[in-house]
């Protein structure tokens, strides 16, 4: 199981600004190890963010997203106390879901 994400969700005016830091290698599949063998690709493919059951962002990623991915976005319709849930799935089928309360 991967390490938890760091999620911060805070009101910015009448919108909610979400900042997420995920812990993931995001291996490209382009690099080689010391013996010259290609290190297989290992990266997050799908990211979904929901608030009160409504999807507020969904993303498809390739291996070109940087290691330990950072993501931030804004949406309307959330209020302090609501929960924002972020989930990801990587190309190994590993998944992780974490949540934060809007402050």
């Amino acid at each position: 199981m991967a390490d938890p994400m760091k999620i911060r969700a805070a009101m910015a005016g009448d919108k909610v600004e979400v900042k997420v830091l995920m812990a993931h290698e995001m291996e490209t599949g382009q690099r080689k190890d010391a013996s010259g063998k290609v290190i297989p690709a290992w990266f997050i493919q799908n990211v979904t963010a929901t608030c009160n059951g409504k999807t507020v962002l969904s993303a498809e990623w390739g291996p070109a997203v940087a290691k330990n991915p950072f993501l931030s976005f804004r949406f309307s319709g959330g209020k302090p106390g609501d929960k924002v849930v972020i989930s990801w799935v990587d190309n190994h089928g590993d998944k992780r879901s974490d949540e934060a309360v809007i402050s």
Binding site: T28, A64, F73
Partner: protein
């Protein structure tokens, strides 16, 4: 960024294939969700092919797409980008790095109520044109910016 029709086709085709594969015991059900990943688009090697694989054609250049990034990235492994679309009814934003091994880096679907503004970090193998592709009201638009990389982020 796919059209509705393609999504439906892919959906049913994918389900049927998954059903067969699962019946044959080839895949664990847990892998099923990865089906929604547009493999073809992430394997493209040019801007034109990436646009095509995402379901668009002949995107129009638009100054209403803002690309906020450093002009020179010291470390290609982590290049921050903030993309903002001021085009009404923006539905999706994609980040493409022209000279990476594969062009498409990331694609974001923007539901109604979410700002057409995305902030993330991507890898760049070398100095390249970075393109922000926007789908708005069914049409495709782009803006591009040259980002210089002094240390690549894709090699060993």
């Amino acid at each position: 960024m796919r059209s509705g029709r393609r999504k439906v086709l892919q959906g049913t085709g994918g389900l049927a294939v998954m059903g067969l594969a699962m019946a044959a015991g080839l895949f664990k059900p847990g892998l099923a969700r990865a089906e929604s990943w547009n493999k073809a688009a992430f394997e493209t090697k040019s801007f034109a092919d990436a646009v095509k694989a995402l379901g668009g054609s002949q995107p129009a250049e638009s100054k209403d797409i803002a690309i906020n990034s450093p002009d020179i990235a010291e470390n290609g492994a982590v290049v921050p980008f903030a993309i903002e679309s001021r085009i009404p009814k923006t539905e999706a934003i994609a980040i493409l790095v022209e000279k990476n091994p594969n062009t498409l880096a990331a694609e974001f679907e923007i539901p109604q109520g979410t700002d057409p503004w995305i902030n993330t970090r991507v890898k760049m193998g070398q100095t390249s044109r970075v393109i922000a592709l926007v789908k708005a009201d069914g049409k495709y638009y782009y803006n591009a910016k040259e980002v210089k990389v002094t240390l690549g982020g894709c090699g060993g």
